[in-house]
């Protein structure tokens, strides 16, 4: 990467962040709700991206972890406890469950793991629906309060959007650090070639469980934001289809790419909204768009970009080589 390229990327990054802060200022309530939802789903998808894209384990339970986080937030804040406490509980709970659920990953091959996690998703849904004493069953929990952040109330849509955006920024920074740490490198080594990773002295068992648990915990984090965002939760949003949606977000955005979940969540949350003018056809068009994208580029949107950049780089390199070669040949 050349110096100008680097500055260009930094400038682009600052422009995007500025746009995310400034543009929504005159959005209506619904627009802000959708954008906040994008931020929340990006966090959940980032967790899944760690599990899938970096550690190579397919999980169909991420939606269940969002549900666990959401219920933790709803139940605890209804008791008057602060959201931070719920966040702590959600992280610990999801991390522990993710760790336990990761054990089958060590025993069985990837598609079986998908089914173990699928079973867990459905079990979690049944618990949300049937344990009335805790979750109020199908009636759901309403009037979930929004938190005060350093003395500022976030009841109104705009401050709450900033709260979600800020949380997304914090999670992104933590993730950026994590995948560049020795841990992140170990995750990648694990994905690329488990046997070689083992021979390099990486404890594959521990790192697989770790990736799974951290990814699950991020699902819980997203859940604790989701509950105050909608201010009402019932079991329905956390059924298997949320897990499938999150998986689709990661793949469509580009699994294993840092910015994949951002784009994937944007497509999954915003594209159906943009297609709403087509009325009943919008989810159909969305499904067709996803299929076409996957046929064209199975590595997702960032996969296209990546391919394009690699191609251009090889072209430039071969052009340079050709020039160098012709100079050599014409030299006396």
């Amino acid at each position: 990467m050349t110096a100008t390229g680097k500055y260009l990327r930094i400038a682009l990054g600052i422009a995007v962040i500025a746009a995310l802060i400034i543009v929504p200022m005159n959005f209506n309530r619904y627009g802000l709700y959708i954008l906040s939802q994008w931020a929340v789903m990006t966090i959940a998808a980032m967790g899944l991206n760690l599990t899938l894209g970096y550690a190579g384990q397919v999980s169909l339970a991420q939606g269940a972890f969002v549900g666990i986080g959401a219920y933790a937030a709803a139940i605890m804040t209804a008791q008057g406890l602060p959201l931070v406490a719920a966040l702590g509980v959600a992280i610990v709970l999801c991390f522990a469950i993710g760790w336990i659920l990761g054990y089958p990953a060590l025993r069985v091959q990837h598609h079986y793991l998908a089914f173990v996690t699928l079973a867990f998703s459905t079990l979690a849904f049944l618990v949300f629906r049937n344990e009335d004493w805790l979750t109020k069953g199908i009636y759901g929990i309403s009037n979930i309060p929004r938190p005060n952040v350093m003395g500022f109330a976030t009841n109104r849509p705009l401050p709450f959007y900033y709260f979600c955006l800020g949380s997304l920024a914090l999670v992104s920074l933590a993730m950026w650090w994590l995948i560049r740490s020795p841990w992140g490198r170990a995750f990648v080594a694990l994905r690329e070639n488990p046997v070689r990773a083992l021979s390099l002295g990486i404890d594959t068992r521990r790192y697989t469980l770790m990736a799974f648990a951290i990814g699950s915990a991020l699902g819980g984090v997203a859940g604790t934001l989701y509950a105050p965002l909608t201010q009402y939760i019932d079991p329905v949003p956390f059924n298997l289809s949320l897990s499938l949606d999150l998986l689709m977000m990661v793949i469509v955005g580009g699994s294993g790419f840092f910015f994949g979940p951002f784009l994937g969540a944007m497509i999954a949350v915003l594209l159906p909204e943009w297609l709403r003018f087509t009325q009943g056809y919008y989810l159909m068009l969305y499904a067709v768009a996803v299929m076409l994208l996957l046929i064209y580029s199975p590595t997702g949107i960032l996969g296209i970009l990546d391919r394009y950049l690699t191609e251009r780089r090889t072209k430039t390199a071969s052009a340079l080589r050709a020039v160098a070669k012709s100079r050599l040949e014409t030299a006396p």
């Binding site: 397919v58 089958p104 025993r107 069985v108 091959q109 598609h111 079986y112 089914f115 173990v116 699928l118 079973a119 867990f120 459905t122 079990l123 049944l126 629906r129 049937n130 488990p194 046997v195 298997l240 499938l244 998986l247 689709m248 793949i251 469509v252 009943g280 056809y281 989810l283 159909m284 969305y286 499904a287 067709v288 996803v290 299929m291 996957l294 046929i295 199975p298 590595t299």
Partner: protein
Amino acid sequence: MSNLLDLLVAGLATGAIYALVAVGFTLLWQTSQTINFAQGEFVMLPAFLMLAVMHVGAPFWLAIILGILLSLLLLGLGFKLLLVDPMLRHGVLPLAIATMALAIGMKEAVKQFFSAEASPFPSIVPAGDVSILGRVVSLQSLGVLALAIAVVIGLTALLNRTSIGHQMQATAQNPTVARIIGVPVERMILMTFLINAFLVALASLLITPIYLAKFSSGEVLGQAAFIAAIVGGFNQVRGAIAGGLLIGVVDNLAAAYVSTQYRAAVPLILLIVIILFRPQGLLGRPEERTV
């Protein structure tokens, strides 16, 4: 104890339908590494195709024939040519995701073009009860069970007795070797897609009179078939059949004796236990680990 027989027969009847769906699922996996997350929707659609034909005024038997032909065309040939073939070289996961998108698309299309409400569907088995060993058993359950068993026997005979069946099995076990010994691998793979389309159309015909035709009915069915396929053995046709019957019976017994609320949980717990202790499934061969 008295209604145990009823529960068993009803369980075997739904189990036999799960088995049909699960067999198609394992066939696709074996010959082309396709995990079809839209398999449940594949069962939902043929009933609507048949209803659509009947709306035009055709009699039920013609609707059945046209419905099955349309299923072969759309869910067999169309699915293979338009989605699986372009995606196959990209590996298992993107294809699995694409079938999830396909499931959403199919559900929404039926909801949009047909109806969001559940529609009644005529039964090919007459209503009524018969008396066996002094117990009254519903004719519907018996008919469904008999038809499903006949299809399963026919399919097993096709796979084990005919040369096409042997060629298909060779393709499933090792496409490269099969190609070397002269098996038309491509044609055999297409054949499994057509068989899958036929099986789901038949399952649709058998199950829809019981549960009504609804755009969302594929979710539960697809999941039951996945569980059946894994419990029985992902890489074995007879495993999928056994798994289907087992899940059907366990599901019905759980609803009666455990709790209706956690009825759906019992097969799932069975699934987790089996994956942990016998990941290849009850009747499956262990798959060699490839590095």
